[in-house]
Symmetry: C2
Subunit: 363 residues, 2 copies
């Protein structure tokens, strides 16, 4: 997608293939800066310090980390050591493991002398595959938006589609396009008039910082709202559809996503607003059924609730404390939206109902 | 209620009756400081600058403002001028008008020479009436908490009642006790083990700052959470009841309250958690029926969404910007929870169903 008119991905090899570059996402939305990753350690730090985040992007960065490492040492021992080290950068990131294991399986059978060059190509292939999957999610989701748009115009209910999203499932979380935002970018490119309500997404504010930034840079009309606002908007016909991403979907269609998603799904259901979840099919965990009972929810540091960062008058990004000294805070990272509240799953293989039978075709 | 062990109200006359004192609520939760109001202008500024907030407290402060003014000039002209001036401090605050009109009606028939002394007593009477109403709300609500507690213990489901609240409807918003928090303080005083989940309540964070502070000072166990969290907690049996305040209730029981209340009511309904609204009966607007259609929702400054204040490392309270330059924000102050999602209204005259017929007895 575009930054100030220039097309970007979130990770790309330099012209001379000597390194990869990334956008330092810890500095957004206040400062746009890119970083050069020249060694496996650079890639490891970028993952650990969350300069890259979002499951697909973490996987691709790790793949490039393996590739950079192979240039220095390509022995079996070096490959094993590299993979072990990178895995520790964010131990709970499923895609990190996936990206590393794919590189290991691909490189292990090759002769040492071919590993460096082959690894570089394989990392690029993983990146391109992610872009293709997301572009396809975008096309399938765009059909829904187009049809809502025509329906709205036909019924004289307005000339622009209002879409609410939660957290950041945009191109910054992937290599390009994003998941939840891919249909929005596709519809925007097609010229369908639209506007996005961006939940700020406390406590880490990925909506107010990342989603608002990437939509703004690409030129997509949007408005940031407090997470408390969506219900009121839906009661008053100001939201035509919701699209969110997900970290994990169960075999019967329960959706684990950023904390607060469930509340928006309840409001959508109560007001007859379609609620869609966009995902690449590997996000489905076929071993799970009841998401509320079976998916463990990560508790994160209370400081993410008690403190927040932003840009001060003096141009410095500072953290400020919001709560009184001595008040405890709890920080649950995700919640589970039961399938009954989900209108459909937008995948790279089409839109399907969030229901065990319908989902079989994605298996 | 107590601050660091010492009993306080939010407004009180000095020992020599020369002035009234208030807590400067703009400094909370980081700094506790009191202010002396010696003139009508001091009272006016305290209301305008939101050093006092919450409908009942604004009304009482205005009443004391009239009383202070009568000491300097007690003519009919002075009374009229004082009332007009104070009304402008926060033109949309219904209780401000109510407090001033009550003082005007009380003072107008009195001889000039008696007005100053009478006004002082009347202002104190208004304050005491507020305390009595809230104490009564506390007692009625406490019965609900007590019964939930006994039920929980009886069923072996735990030994502490978990109550979720949104925004600040605590003693800081009234003269003492509060509305939504009055039952909690009453139950706490009675020794019922309880714990309060405090919604931070973006964008103005009255939960994280005021509710957390007053509960902490009084010694009530509590945990601050992002507004996104309540649904997850309710899905997992971690909330036994919700109690919120309200700015306006319609004749059929629709509840207008701080934005985000509706989302919590939906989650409570979806998980069988009782959802109560605490209010003094004058909060009911008998002229309104359908709250969603009939109650206009105030749009506030977008800066409350794009910026937030907190305590910096250097001990200064600073405002930081959360959103990217150029991203618009919308800031709806309230939403309406339909009566069908409300378990009951806790009033000074008892607990009644949020339903036109049942509410007749409050008329």
């Amino acid at each position: 997608m575009k930054i100030d008119g220039t097309p970007y991905r979130t990770i790309w090899p330099t012209a001379d293939n000597s390194a990869v570059e990334i956008i330092d996402q810890t500095k957004l939305p206040h400062i746009f800066t890119t970083l050069r990753l020249e060694t496996m350690r650079d890639a490891e730090r970028a993952i650990k310090d969350m300069q890259v985040r979002g499951a697909p992007l973490i996987g691709v960065t790790a793949a490039y980390g393996v590739a950079l490492s192979m240039r220095d040492h390509a022995s079996d021992a070096a490959l094993a050591a590299t993979c072990s080290k990178l895995l520790l950068a964010r131990p709970t990131a499923v895609n990190l493991r996936w990206g590393i294991e794919r590189m290991r399986a691909f490189l292990a059978p090759l002769p040492e002398s071919e590993r460096a060059a082959a690894a570089w190509l394989e990392a690029a292939r993983i990146a391109d595959e992610d872009v293709a999957i997301n572009a396809s999610i975008g096309q399938h989701g765009c059909e829904l938006i187009r049809s809502l748009y025509h329906d709205k115009v036909h019924k004289g209910r307005g000339y622009s589609v209002n879409i609410l999203t939660h957290c950041n499932a945009g191109w910054l979380a992937t290599v390009d396009w994003g998941t939840a935002l891919a249909p929005i970018y596709a519809a925007f490119e097609e010229g369908i008039p639209l506007h996005v309500w961006v939940d700020e997404t406390r406590p880490r504010n990925q909506g107010a910082s990342l989603t608002a930034w990437e939509l703004g840079q690409h030129g997509v009309p949007h408005t940031v709202i407090a997470d408390n606002t969506g219900g009121h908007l839906m009661q008053h016909g100001m939201v035509d559809m919701c699209i969110v991403g997900t970290d994990r979907v169960t075999a019967r269609g329960d959706v684990c996503n950023k904390i607060g998603t469930y509340l928006k799904a309840l409001a959508a259901h109560d007001n007859g607003v379609p609620f869609y979840v966009a995902l690449p099919t590997p996000t489905i965990d076929w071993t799970l059924q009841d998401g509320v009972k079976e998916i463990p929810i990560e508790e994160r540091a209370p400081e993410e609730v008690t403190h927040i960062s932003g840009l001060c008058d003096d141009g410095q990004v500072r953290s400020v404390q919001l709560t009184p000294q001595g008040s405890r805070a709890a920080n649950y990272g995700f919640d589970v939206t039961p399938a009954r509240l989900v209108t459909g799953l937008i995948t790279e293989r089409g839109v399907v109902q969030a229901e065990a039978g319908a989902m079989q075709k994605l298996r």
